[in-house]
């Protein structure tokens, strides 16, 4: 309990945490608000009738994008300990390193879940407003009101844990943050774009799978293709995300137990 409180204070005292939360909310709001517009523009070649439940679900699914910032919260929670050399105080207070790291992972998971839930709730609200602005009366599948917040919490928890793990593996703070961004924004998406069969197993693909949208729009002649028809179902995707979280946590524990702290 003591350790959980200490790790929690590290997050709430850090102003950056609130900046990242605002950024997560902003990206969710922008994505849900802009998607109806994008889908309604046939020029992009991904025209989809907005008046179908799937299209409406797809708009609400854009509220799940906050994980990009959750992972950064996790990276900073760990890497700032090395950047500011507070890792020394942390491990002097708790020399059994597995306990200190365990507390950090637990707090990251809980905080990440709530963080992403808040961001996605704002995103869902913005989606509802955008749809009413487009005067769309079609209701989404009612399960999304439970499933999407639950998905947001799961992805928030797992991505925050992955972030902490990255922070232990790459002790240089700037490098850790930049590599994480490049990976999630670029590499993951590029792989998913070029090799869709692999992409669905990567975090971005799995998070998309959680929204349970099997969509295929666009095609050979259009500049943009969205094809999630072969993506996993939500439950296996959730399980696979958990596996990522566990593997990354184990890597974090193994490196932290072995290496010297300085």
């Amino acid at each position: 309990m003591k350790l959980l409180k200490s790790e929690f204070l590290k997050l709430v005292y850090q102003r950056r945490t609130y900046g990242l939360l605002l950024a997560a909310m902003a990206i969710d709001v922008l994505a849900t608000a802009a998607t109806p517009y994008v889908l309604s523009k046939s020029k992009l070649g991904i025209e989809m009738s907005l008046s179908t439940p799937t299209a409406v679900d797809a708009i609400y699914a854009k509220s799940l994008g906050g994980y990009l910032f959750v992972v950064i919260v996790g990276v900073f929670l760990m890497s700032s300990e090395f950047a500011h050399h507070t890792a020394i105080a942390t491990f002097l207070a708790t020399p059994k390193r597995i306990r200190a790291l365990g507390a950090k992972l637990i707090v990251a998971a809980m905080f990440g879940a709530v963080f992403n839930l808040v961001a996605s709730a704002v995103g869902l609200a913005s989606g509802a407003i955008a749809l009413s602005a487009y005067n769309i009366k079609v209701a989404p599948d009612s399960y999304i009101w439970v499933d999407y917040p639950a998905s947001a919490m799961l992805t928030g928890a797992v991505l925050a844990v992955i972030g902490v793990a990255i922070g232990t593996l790459i002790r240089n703070q700037n490098l850790a943050v930049s590599l994480t961004m490049v990976w999630l924004f670029l590499v993951d998406r590029l792989i998913a774009f070029i090799f869709p069969d692999w992409g669905k197993w990567l975090p971005t693909g799995l998070i998309t799978s959680l929204s349970d949208l099997h969509i295929k729009v666009g095609g050979a002649n259009s500049p943009i293709t969205i094809d999630t028809s072969s993506f996993l179902d939500p439950w296996p995707a959730a399980g696979m995300l958990l596996v990522y979280g566990i593997v990354f946590s184990m890597a974090a524990v193994l490196t932290t137990l072995r290496r010297d702290i300085d």
Partner: protein, 233 residues
């Protein structure tokens, strides 16, 4: 009771042996100076003592236990390390709260230790703007949080002005007089002569000499004695 013991401690890095079979101890009620030139292995030995670096072989104990075996370490051992730091975007008080929370120390203690190190007036300031000397005092405040019986201090005089150094000397003396074990590393020999009761001198990771200050200096200054022993007469 709270004796610090190095028992055949060895720490090798890839191409240097930073600490080479060190046998030494620091006793309660005394200030023990841990001396040696730059790169002698002082910080490395202290980091092994505090469980931050894994020794290659041998062990170092506090009150008969390795640091990692102490149930409430901050309440038993206070440490100032040369490489330790603070989160600059947090205030002094917030930095200390995080440490108190982790070790179950009452937040009341924060104001007490900040007064002790004469930082009471800047406790709400972010540590980013702290001078080297202020940081050093803040590190000392952290070491004092748990009111420990043992203090391990790596170059605590670094960054302190002459007044601060006099203050530190008196401070350490008071702590030792209360029966605490004080192990303090330094390369500032002239200063240490007036501060310490016992000395441990190492060079290239190896023990050169240990004993009371009188035994080691034999009437000469510590600086002279050190030069004779380390550089070779």
């Amino acid at each position: 009771m709270s004796t610090i013991e190095f028992k055949g401690l060895v720490k090798k890095y890839r191409d240097v042996t930073a600490v080479d079979d060190l046998w030494a101890e620091a006793k309660p009620g005394r200030i023990t100076g841990f001396l040696g030139p730059n790169g002698a292995g002082k910080s490395t030995a202290l980091r092994c003592l505090l469980g931050l670096a894994n020794p290659t072989s041998g062990e170092s104990l506090i009150g008969g236990r390795p640091y990692s075996g102490i149930a409430h370490p901050l309440q038993e051992v206070g440490a100032v390390l040369d490489s330790s730091g603070f989160n600059g975007s947090l205030t002094a008080r917030q930095n200390l709260k995080i440490i108190c929370a982790a070790s179950g120390i009452d937040y009341k203690r924060i104001n007490e230790v900040l007064e002790l190190v004469e930082l009471g007036n800047v406790k709400g300031k972010r540590t980013k703007g702290f001078s080297l000397g202020m940081r050093q005092r803040l590190s000392l405040a952290v070491a004092l949080l748990g009111d420990p019986q043992v203090m391990v201090l790596d170059e605590p005089a670094n960054g302190l002005d002459p007044l601060g150094i006099v203050w530190l000397r008196k401070f350490l003396r008071d702590l030792a007089d209360q029966g605490r074990t004080i192990l303090v590393s330094s390369h500032q020999l002239a200063e240490m002569q007036h501060t310490v009761d016992d000395v441990i001198i190492i060079n290239h990771g190896k023990l050169v000499v240990k004993g009371t200050i009188a035994e080691v200096t034999k009437g000469k200054s510590l600086e002279e004695a050190f030069m004779n022993l380390v550089v070779g007469a």
